[in-house]
Amino acid sequence: MSNRKINMKEKYSLLTRDLEWEYSYRDYKEIFPQEEFEGIKITDWSKWEDPFRLTMDAYWKYQAEKEKKLYAILDAFAQNNGQQNVTDARYVNAIKLFLTGISPGEHQAAMGFGHVGRQLGGVGARVACQMQAIDELRHVQTQIHAMSHYNKFFDGFQDFPHMHDRVWYLSVPKSFFDDARTAGPFEYMVAIGFSFEYVLTNLLFVPFMSGAAYNGDMATVTFGFSAQSDEARHMTLGLEIIKFLLEQHPDNVPIVQRWINKWFWRGTRMLALVAMMMDYMLPNKVMSWQEAWEVYFEEAGGSLFKDLARYGIEMPAYAKTAIAEKEHISHQAWSIFYNYGHAAAFHTWMPTEEEMDWLSEKYPNTFDKYYRPRFEKWREMEAAGERFYNPTLPMLCQTCQIPMGFTDMEDPTSTSYRQSEYDGERYNFCSDGCKDIFDYEPEKYVQSWLPVHQIYQGNCGGPDIEDVLGDYYKINLGVDNMDFHGSPDEQRWNAWHNLPSAEEKLKRAS
């Protein structure tokens, strides 16, 4: 026996490839029944290369170290009343949206990678999926754990899994992951592993988390960066799966390109939520959504797609539309939520004068021209005691499920609206991207669970909208919803910091 220490490459080979065996008494297709139906051709799984060469023993070692660091900080945050040291109680609403909208997606990703890992014939890919499934489970657990502290002091956190399955805006991320998980294994890998992880998650976990740090939220930045350190590995896996599929067979190229187009667009739509979190929900600003988009999509994504050009892969279709939308999307998304602030489980508000000035400076081509006048009008209405709430239910896009509030980039004052007919029924879309996704697989998307349709069909309780919001969504009416100004969250915050209440401020002014 030699005591020679084996190197990383040998260890990786022994602890992954060497776990595989020959299937001698069962047919390969019986063991991996989903490997062919999407049209992807795999000729040789041994060509799979995992650049990180992480083995299970090293994985546990480093993940344990990450967890210890994370929990030391979460404990310190709780012990030192960290919730009182964030910049402003408005900020906590971004965290409510994170817990209800994003963390359940981590759980969906864990389930997805668990499933897909079983379906891929190559052992290297299976081991990588197994680690990613465990990572995603770790993310949802640490996120719930970190945010449970806020639940003790702020409203709107209490029923997040119940809400995730029902509430109108949470159907946006929920349907995104449902769509990916009901696709075949290779589409799932391109959807979540590549398009989402590589191209888009940086926008959520890097600039937003840096912003959380800048707003005194030590707990969130720590779980965010701890999660993103796994994402770096996931991104690498995502890029690997793409290169592997493209190298295996030229017939794979158009299939992969179609999936990239689809999932880039679906991901971009979902990130409208993150855009407004960045521009409207961080009282201390690090960078605008537009700036983050330029660094993490245009620059980093641009390098990536230049690198993939040698395989015949192009920039995602509608990247141009998404790039034009960077100057609009956060303002439009925030307007939608302000309109429906009575129907959301977090608070909305109009930006202060200073914040509007920051938006004008960061969005010189669009904010003053299209959005500031509307916001100033809403602010006047609020001052006059007539805070605007939209009493109707919005039409939703059949694909992304976002209310039809986005506009055409050629004419930013008119709503972007597309239609398709299928089987005698008319379907509505917010964009060419969403319409194309539907048109390619209409039989899938006609089944979409659209919250507004479901309310009108009587499937969400009722008859009044308050019954839907209170009984079916479990929003504590008058507590979790409505404007931040006048909310119990605001009152508690002011009491902690000996700040005057809104009424006292008014009295003093008069």
């Binding site: 990383m8 740090a213 690090v286 690198d307 050009a309």
Partner: protein, 89 residues
């Protein structure tokens, strides 16, 4: 050319890694942002175990990078002695 980049959590251990990266990649740009440090370089970026060990004054495994890593851009190549990011175009 495209920029290869890496972002690390802004902490004591990372400061040594950043020092090592600056030494091994003289053209790299280091950008400090709240709670994070982003290092970018045209075409490629390399982290060498030996240089990091030299800065830290102790043994350091390449895979320990995972503990402080936030994100990266480029094709990864990793072995016992170095970790590199490159764009091939």
């Amino acid at each position: 050319m495209s920029k290869a980049y890496i972002a690390l959590q802004d902490n004591e251990e990372s400061h040594y890694i950043v020092e090592a990266i600056e030494e091994d990649n003289p053209t790299a740009t280091v950008i400090y942002q709240p709670a994070m440090i982003r290092i970018e370089n045209e075409g490629s970026l390399v982290i060498k175990r030996e240089t990091v060990e030299d800065k830290m004054g102790r043994d350091w495994e390449i895979q320990a990078l995972h503990v402080n890593l936030i994100t990266l851009g480029g094709n990864v190549d990793e072995d016992d002695d170095q970790f590199s990011l490159t764009w091939k175009q």
